[in-house]
Structures are given as C-alpha cells and as structure tokens.
C-alpha cells in the first residue's frame, strides 16, 4: 500500500465514481424497463425526473473520469523515483500486474465517457427524449467497466510496494521484449510512418467533405439553400455513409497514431533511435509535450467516433435539425485536434537532431 496523496485522491475518486455509477446504473435499468412516454402514470413522471439526476451524475463522474486519466498517468510518472529500475511511468505501471490493465481500462472508459457525454448532450437538445434508450443501454455497459476500473486501480495502489526492481522503459519498449508493448515498438518505422500519414490524410479529406455536406444540409434545413440544390450536390455523400467513413477513419487513425507514437514519433523527441517509451515524453525534459499529443489524439478520437455514433439518429424525431449542427462541430474538433497532432509530429520530424533514414 502506498500512502501518496495523489494515490489517495485517485482511489477516493475511483470509489466515488463507481459508487455513483452503480446508483445511476440501477436507475438507468429501471428507466430502460419501465420507460413509456405515452403513459402519464406517477412512475413515468418519477422516471422522467430521475433522468435529470442520472444525466447530472453521469456528466460529473464522466468529467472526473476524463481528468483522472491524466492525473493517473502523471502520478505513475511521479512515483517512478520510488522503484529501483523505473525511469518513468512505464516502470511504475509494470511494478505489479494491475498497472497496465488499469491504464487500458481507463483509456476505454475515457473514450466511452466522451461518447456518452456527446449522446447525452444531443439527447438533452431534443424535447422528446429521443436517445433515451441508446443512452441508458450504453450506460449499463459503462457502469461495470467503471467498477472494474476502480477495483483495478485500488488493487494497483494496494499492491504497490516501494523498492521493487521493475523493468525500465528502455527494456519494456525495446525491440527484444515480447508482449504487446514490444510488438508496438518493433513496428517498422518507415511503414508505420507511411500508414500514419495516409490515415491522417483520409480522415482529414473525409472530414472536410463531410463538413461541407453537413454545412449545406444545415443551410437547406434553415431555408438558405434550396433543398434541390443540396440533393444534387451532397446528399449522395450523406447517403453513401460519408459520416460512417469519417468516423471509422478517425477511430483507425487514433489506433495508428497511438502505435506511431511508440514506433517513430517519440524517437524524434528523444533523439535516440532505440528509446520507444510512450511515457517519457510526458516529462519535464520534453516540455510536457506528451500531454498535448495525447490530449489531441484522444480529443479528436472521441469527437470523431461521436460524430459517427450520432449518424443513425439523424432522422429521429426532434433531432433532424439538431444532429447536423452537433456533428459539424464534432468534425471540426476532430480536424483541429488531428491536424495539431500532425503539425507537432511534422515539426519535430523536420527540426529534430535525429534523422531516420
């Protein structure tokens, strides 16, 4: 057990989040079961009131979730001094078998939390609870993951015994080491680099086309454009699943970008062709640039996937006019985030002292 203030804060948050999650999940299931907007019974009235509570609880706990991911990584990085052989978060997380699973589940929860908040925001804009079922089905999926995350986090800190010799990031992410992290590092940087730029290009192009199509759709809906003109120009794109294409591209690019960070991007920052650690870039020596890199790819991924998740509901009741506007903003967020990420990468590739042939 480690009595570090940040560890205590993280455990406190984990317990609060899972406790409130269970509470919200219980009422979420009741809503899924008994929800009937056509009925004016006392129970329905009570459930309608509960939706406000659950939305509020989930907005809070999911926002905490978003911040706590970064706090967790920073804490893991900060604690590395306590363990022999650990040089950054990579070593601290490898101290026991709960570290990496906690991080992984935190990342999954981060993405799901973002998508849930987008769904909730959209649902609140419609007057007739249009996405209530989808929202609460997703909620019942998220709650067990939140509880699992809290369990893993507490187990991780409880099992953390200072002065254990852990493997340092150099050996964990070097070509020789086996396992998942080793596989990432051993991705050939030339091919990864090409795949990364192709994925970015596809996402940005599909995003721009989708953005223009959405803008025209909004103009048509508000009567600025004749609907016929839109039909001719861009409805094909919307019909052919331009939104889905963009969303899938954004999700794939997220995974490729994560792999690229380990495979080649970090090399330019460390100016060392053998050091593949994805955590050292979070340290002061590299001006905390890792936080910016991760914030942009995570933010871009949540917005991009969110835009695709809203796509099936674009014709649902009161959302016809609302969804294109929200989707357009999400596309813009993804484009800005991903372009910023690419810009930092390209800037470092040009100005780094390391040149990968």
């Amino acid at each position: 057990m480690i009595l570090h203030p940040a560890a205590l804060a993280l455990m406190l948050i984990a317990l609060l989040v899972s406790g409130m999650g269970i509470y919200a999940g219980y009422y979420g299931m009741r809503i899924l079961r008994y929800w009937n907007p056509a009925c004016g019974s006392e129970q329905q009235l009570e459930l309608e009131r509960r939706t406000y509570l659950i939305s509020t609880i989930m907005s809070y706990i999911l926002s905490f979730e978003l911040i706590s991911l970064f706090l967790f990584i920073y804490t893991a990085d900060d604690l590395h001094t306590l363990f022999t052989g650990a040089m950054c978060a990579a070593g601290t997380l490898a101290v026991n078998s709960f570290g990496y699973p906690t991080l992984l589940i935190k990342i999954i929860n981060f993405l799901l939390a973002g998508i849930w908040l987008i769904l909730n925001y959209t649902d609140n804009r419609g007057y007739d609870y249009p996405l209530i079922r989808v929202k609460y089905i997703l909620l019942t999926l998220i709650v067990p993951l939140l509880v699992l995350e809290s369990g893993l986090l507490c187990a991780y800190f409880a099992e953390l015994k200072p002065d254990i010799i852990t493997s340092c990031c150099g050996s964990l992410f070097s070509h020789e080491s086996g396992g998942f992290s080793g596989d990432l590092a051993s991705l050939p940087y030339r091919q990864t680099r090409i795949v990364f730029f192709i994925c970015m290009a596809i996402t940005v192009c599909s995003g721009l086309v989708f953005y223009v199509a959405l803008t025209n759709r909004i103009r048509a809906l508000t009567g600025l454009f004749s609907a016929q003109k839109v039909q001719q120009k861009f409805s094909d794109i919307l019909k052919c699943g331009g939104g889905y294409l963009f969303s899938i591209a954004a999700a794939v690019t997220f995974l490729v970008a994560c792999a690229s960070v380990v495979s080649f991007i970090c090399l330019y920052f460390y100016e060392l062709p053998t050091h593949h650690c994805p955590f050292c870039i979070l340290q002061k020596e590299y001006h905390y640039v890792g936080y910016l890199l991760y914030a942009t790819i995570f933010g871009g991924a949540v917005a991009g996937i969110g835009a695709g998740v809203l796509q099936p509901f674009r014709k649902t009741g009161s959302l016809v006019r609302i969804i294109p506007d929200i989707q357009r903003r999400l596309v813009l967020i993804t484009l800005v985030c991903y372009l910023l990420f690419t810009l930092i990468t390209v800037w470092k590739m040009i100005f780094s002292a390391l040149k990968l042939a």
């Binding site: 009595l3 993280l10 509020t56 809070y60």
Partner: protein, 378 residues
C-alpha cells in the same frame, strides 16, 4: 453560441445575487470549506517543499558511500579498502571521511563533527554552524572548548560561521582538522568513518556497488539514489499519514455540505417554485445549482490555496511543522523554497472539490425537481 454564453452569464448573475441574499448560510459553508482546503493545501505545499529541500541538499552528496559492518553494526573502514575500491574501473575518486557525533553536556545538544582536508581549517581552529554558534553564544574569534574522550580539553578557535542559508545542512556542524578529530575522539589512525566514492558514469553505479560488495563482503555500499528515494517516500508517507488523519475532517465537511444542500429553507423552496412557475425548466434550476456550487468551490479553493501559501512559505507552517519536521535541541531554522505546481493543485482539487460536488448532486436534483405548486404552498 452567443446565446448559450448569454444564458450562462445570466444564470451566473442570478446565482451571485441569490448567494448574497443568503449571506449567513453561505458564509458559514464557505468558512468551513475554506478551512478544509487550507489544511490540505498547507499539507501538500509543506510536503512538496520538504521533498524539494531534500533533493537540493542531496544533490551535493557523494554518489556512493561505502560503510563497513561488524556484527551488523557500522564499524570503521580500514584505509586499504579505499585503495582497492579506487582500482575498480569506472571509479573516479575514493575519499575516506572522518566524522562523528559529539554530545555537549552543557546544553544537551548533539553536534556533528567532521574533519576537513581544507587548508583553511588549520589545527586548533573550527568552522561552525549557526545553530552551534547560537547554542553556545559564540562569535568569530571566540574559543570553543570541547572535552576529548580522554577527558583533556580541546580548544578550538572559531574562524568562521556558516550563514543561516546553510542551516538545513550545517546548523549543528563543527568542521575541524583531521589532527584535532583524532585527538578529540581518540580515533585510531589508518581508519575512516566511511568512504565517499565518485563514479564517472551514473549508469555504472549499481555495477560498481556490486563489485565493492563482492570484493569486501563486510562492506555496505549506499547509493545516493537510494537515499533520495528513501527521503521521497518518507515525506510522501508522512504526508499520506497526516492526510488519513485529516480524512475525518474531510468526511465531516462532506456531511456538513450534504446537510446544508439538503436543508432548503422555506425561502429557497419558494424561490425555486416561483422560478419554475414563471417558466424555468428543471435543467435551468440544475444549472443554477451547478453555478452556485462552482462559485462556492472556486472561492474556497482559491482563497484556501492562497492562505496556505502564506502559511507555509511565509510563516514556515507553524500548524504542521511539529508533526512533520521532527525535533532536536539544535533545530535548523529554514525558510522553505516555494514550490507550487499544477499537479499538487489538481490533487488538492480532487481531494476537496470533487467530494463536495458529489455530496451536493442529489440534494440539488431534489431541489430542482420540486413541483412549483408544492414549493409555493410551503
């Protein structure tokens, strides 16, 4: 976009007015909130500052210290150990050190006596720390009498006093020449208290330590990084322990916040009832409550942090010093170096604002979903 911003601004405006209307209730909440943030922030600042202080002091420590053990206790190191260790590849220098503790029966204090090869410290003279100077009322040029182990007096003339800035490392220090050291403690020749080893490449430190332990099985090499790690974990542990003790205060505060949020006064109920009957929706009232919580939390958080900063870095943390610093007859006076970073502040935020917010969600929702007629009939 502008419309949404305007909505928030209007609700914030209304929130501030309504908070001011119930001044007494909100001020009492704010005061307790402030106290909790102040305590936790003082603790966080103090622990981080001590850790920083330890890092600064240890940065000048030797890379590795080699001690010799005899029956599990530390013993003197023969000089030939130093010669053998210097032969290990990668070792730049080995310096035998002579130091010990001297108990002063006059005032019950323990001094750290150290022998220095520095030519400025000639036999019969000493450089002392400011703590020693104060305890014995000494100035430069005065004589400091010490009693040697064979009961003969050793007279030392003070040639300089370390400034107060060096107190943390040197408050109880007396630096004398090796000759005086041997005489004072009746210390055998050809021996040292321990060896300070310098290694050129820090990455080779553990290999060199393993070689030393292999060559001299009775030796104990201690790395600087081990000492640093120990200090870090000790301060973290002390901070964590105090935090656990403060948990009861935190829990009381959460219960208090819950109670305040649940106990809506008749006026408040009426206000919400009127707002809803003139067209406010549940989500608007929830937004109002959200802003209310945010205004109180941010005010308490910012004020608490600023007060804690003054408490720790200007007044040297009188409330926590006793629990966290330890004690001694000659205790160094030191001004902590201010260290505040975003990490500490976010940990503090998680420890105070998040529990407060969580405790008030359900009461706020209850308040926001009151039926207007029921509320006004109250």
């Amino acid at each position: 976009m502008n419309q949404a911003l305007e909505r928030h601004l209007n609700i914030l405006d209304f929130t501030l007015a309504s908070l001011l209307r119930r001044r007494a209730k909100n001020l009492s909440l704010l005061a307790i909130y402030l106290l909790v943030v102040f305590m936790l922030a003082s603790l966080a600042f103090f622990v981080t500052a001590l850790k920083k202080e330890a890092t600064i002091i240890l940065s000048g420590a030797p890379d590795m210290i080699v001690q010799r053990l005899m029956a599990g206790r530390q013993d003197l190191v023969p000089a030939d150990y130093a010669v053998e260790i210097a032969k290990i590849r990668g070792v730049t220098a080995v310096r035998p050190r002579l130091w010990g503790y001297y108990y002063d029966a006059l005032n019950g204090a323990n001094y750290t006596i150290m022998a220095s090869e520095d030519p400025a410290v000639v036999p019969g003279s000493a450089t002392i720390g400011a703590g020693v100077a104060k305890a014995r009322n000494l100035a430069v040029g005065d004589l400091l009498p010490l009693i040697s182990y064979d009961k003969s007096p050793v007279m030392l003339e003070i040639n300089s006093i370390y400034p107060h800035g060096a107190d943390l490392a040197a408050a109880d220090l007396i630096v004398i020449s090796p000759d005086d050291f041997h005489q004072l403690f009746n210390f055998p020749g050809g021996q040292a208290t321990d060896l300070a080893v310098t290694v050129r490449n820090p990455k080779e430190m553990s290999t060199v330590a393993a070689k030393i332990a292999g060559t001299f099985p009775d030796s104990r090499p201690i790395l600087k990084s081990e000492i640093q790690r120990t200090y870090q974990s000790i301060f973290d542990w002390r901070g964590g322990m105090t935090l656990i003790l403060l948990t009861s205060a935190l829990i009381s505060f959460i219960i208090f916040a819950w109670d305040k949020a649940t106990g809506l006064s008749a006026d408040e109920r009426k206000e919400i009832g009127i707002l809803k009957s003139i067209g406010w929706e549940t989500s608007d009232v929830l937004l109002l409550k959200f802003w209310e919580g945010l205004v109180i939390s941010l005010t308490a958080f910012l004020l608490g942090v600023v007060l804690a900063y003054g408490h720790v870095f200007l007044l040297s943390a009188p409330l926590f010093a006793q629990a966290l610093k330890g004690w001694s007859v000659i205790y160094p006076r030191f001004q902590l170096v201010p260290v505040v970073d975003a990490y500490q502040l976010s940990v503090l935020f998680f420890l105070t604002v998040v529990p407060y917010t969580t405790a008030t969600i359900i009461p706020c929702w209850r308040a926001a979903t009151i039926d207007p007629d029921a509320a006004m009939r109250y």
